[in-house]
């Protein structure tokens, strides 16, 4: 059996490698995604006061610190049985939507977008942000920078700094918003709305008008009929900060709707010997392996899943964009993995509109921003929709609030089974007769890049990443060929 190793994956936030095992005929027999393990997080937390968690969990990952901060804050609300005042919830939601918009745009323009805007078969050296700028124009690059700067400034205003925020407390937030700050937030939000409209227009011009891309998006290579999970408000509209968890089956019918506190009744984890990642699956269906369909407990989360479980978006412009996407792709649920990119843009528009809505809300200036906890803590669960999907924090404490158990189910873990299935399906479809040229390898990587996966990627040691390296092993296990790129 031949063995091909791609390590590390280009443009994946974190480190990992795809292993592809070829059969004797040179086709793909099996493919899997492996990631390294960061060890000892639970033991690091146990014994500490629970209220330290919003600060600690932001440091797990340099990619989605605000998501961990908010999930942790909500877990503390639940732990101490304290409901934040309305203004505090709005401040948290405003900050969270600013983060979501900024993070989605980072992915589209810098990580996932090059596959489309530059082209999946383009030389690897051009499939990056510089290639995007070359296609979309220098002006587009300047707009990306300005939009992200504005959103990150909102995180700085509310959270103290754009990364590793420290504003959320059990029962509220530590700081209100002044009139001057609101003006700055509003300006940034309004610019972001315009920018997201521009990005959707760019997607229209470069992607949707290209038949090859449409064939790629709607083709079978990148499609899986799975269950979907995401948070919705009382009207079944997408909500990132608060609501009920909804699950739909591969036909789009509601399968479950539950309070995040009850996640253990619905989500279970499967372990494989070849990876540290635990694979989430629907408990009531059961683990049937890496397969899709109604009989399999595999489900997907993140932008496309959220749009699939919802009845639309709660803001007007995003709702229009949502309707267009669903219409072009032939109705819900959309099963094409590559449609995650489009869904990401729709969500970024929603998040930007929500920033503006909340900034205009008179209550956002209220000084009533925290309710003091008064009950003895025992157990709390907090759920948030991270950019990469449903994120769950679950803490147990003694009666002094000292942590005795910590369980996190992170977004990429919920998508992990589907990511492996997508990688394997793409590899099986694209590798023939042992030929694995650069363009095809990138198309396999596109399968997981669409999910925007993130595997506890807080390690930032230099040089950070090596060029993409492909090692091809002969059936005798010896290295036959090594290809480096980058």
């Amino acid at each position: 059996m031949k063995k091909i190793t791609i390590d590390p994956i280009t443009r994946l936030e974190g480190h990992g490698k795809i292993e592809i095992f070829l059969d004797d005929q040179g086709g793909c027999e099996r493919a899997c995604l492996q990631v390294p393990e960061l060890r000892g997080f639970e033991s690091f937390c146990v014994g500490r006061p629970a209220e330290e968690m919003p600060r600690i969990t932001t440091m797990i990952c340099g990619v989605c610190p605000t998501a961990h901060h908010m999930a942790s804050a909500k877990a503390l609300d639940d732990l101490f049985k304290v409901d934040p005042p309305p203004a505090a919830k709005k401040i948290r939601e405003l900050m969270y939507n600013a983060f979501q918009a900024e993070d989605h745009m980072l992915h589209f323009f810098f990580l996932g977008g090059p596959d489309f805007v530059v082209g999946p078969q383009a030389p690897s050296g051009e499939r990056n942000i510089l290639g995007v700028i070359a296609r979309a124009g220098l002006e587009a690059g300047g707009k990306v920078i300005r939009m992200r700067k504005g959103m990150r400034n909102i995180l700085r205003i509310i959270g103290g700094k754009p990364v590793m925020p420290s504003c959320a407390l059990p029962g509220g937030v530590s700081k209100g918003i002044s009139k001057d700050e609101r003006k700055t937030i509003l300006e940034a939000g309004e610019y972001s709305v315009e920018f997201c409209k521009f990005a959707l227009g760019l997607f229209d011009d470069i992607v949707l008008k290209n038949k090859d891309y449409i064939d790629l998006v709607s083709g079978d290579v990148y499609s899986h009929r799975t269950y979907y999970m995401g948070m919705v408000d009382k009207n079944n509209k997408v909500n990132f900060y608060d609501g009920m968890i909804r699950v739909v089956d591969p036909g789009g019918k509601e399968f479950a709707r539950f309070n995040g506190r009850d996640y253990l009744d619905h989500i279970a984890e499967h372990v494989e010997p070849w990876t540290y990642v635990r694979f989430s699956y629907l408990k009531k269906i059961g683990w049937q392996g890496f397969v899709d369909g109604e009989e399999s407990g595999v489900f997907r989360v993140a932008p496309l899943a959220r749009l699939n479980v919802s009845d639309g978006m709660a803001t007007p412009l995003a709702q229009k964009a949502y309707q267009r996407m669903v219409s072009v792709l032939g109705g819900k649920p959309v099963h094409s993995t590559l449609a995650f990119h489009w869904a990401r843009l729709v969500e970024a528009l929603y998040a930007s509109e929500r920033v503006v809505e909340l900034a205009r809300d008179p209550e956002i200036l209220s000084p009533d921003i925290v309710n003091r906890p008064s009950q003895t803590p025992k157990e709390g669960v907090g759920v948030i929709e991270a950019p990469r999907g449903t994120l769950i924090h679950h803490y147990q404490t003694d009666d002094r609030g000292i942590l005795t158990r910590v369980n996190l189910i992170v977004a990429t873990q919920n998508n992990a089974a589907a990511i492996n299935m997508s990688v394997e399906k793409a590899a099986k479809s694209l590798i023939k007769d042992g030929k694995v040229p650069d363009g095809i390898l990138n198309m396999i990587e596109m399968a997981f890049r669409a999910y925007d996966p993130c595997y506890a990627c807080a390690t930032h040691s230099l040089p950070g990443g090596m060029p993409l390296e492909v090692s091809i092993y002969g059936s005798d296990g010896k290295l036959k060929k090594s290809i480096k790129r980058g």
Partner: protein, 159 residues
């Protein structure tokens, strides 16, 4: 902070500590940046555990940049200090990788977007032993070297 350099010419300088402060030696860059601030309170310091092009957000507009990060070559002893240039990183990693975008490509992207990127860049990297276990503080081998590394950077950079 204005640094005096090159015959008294004033330069707006930033010291950027990169790493994760709860991932053992991964946080060594942040720890050194904090100690530099402790030694010279007027220094402008930023800390981040972010990667990729986000670096542009931090460094654009400064004349001079000093980056302090960890490195795992596996060839040196924990606590060894390397001084690198952007060109060194350019050679090590091409622009198609997310993490190679950390510094070298971030500069390329920033410049191509018209951002004013620092003209003077020094990159210090400390060889680490453990950057995969959650723990506050560095391993003993790395921690012991931090005071001398701080002194060396102060001298090298004329802080």
């Amino acid at each position: 902070m204005l640094l005096s350099e090159n015959g008294g010419q004033e330069m707006e300088a930033l010291i950027l500590g990169i790493g994760n402060p709860i991932l053992t030696d991964d946080g060594v860059g942040i720890e050194i940046a904090r100690r530099l601030k402790g030694a010279i309170p007027g220094l402008k310091i930023e800390e981040t555990n972010e990667a990729a092009v986000v670096l542009i957000d931090y460094v654009a507009g400064y004349d001079k940049l000093i980056i302090i990060d960890s490195i795992k070559t596996g060839q040196g002893r924990p606590g060894d200090l390397y001084k690198l240039s952007l060109e060194d990183l350019d050679k090590a990693a091409g622009p198609s990788s997310a993490h190679s975008m950390d510094v070298a490509t971030a500069f390329e992207v920033g410049r191509s977007l018209g951002c004013k990127m620092p003209e003077s860049v020094s990159i210090y990297a400390v060889e680490v032993r453990d950057n995969s276990c959650f723990s506050e503080g560095c391993t003993k081998e790395v921690a012991e070297k931090i005071p001398s590394i701080v002194e060396r950077i102060i001298v090298e950079e004329k802080l």
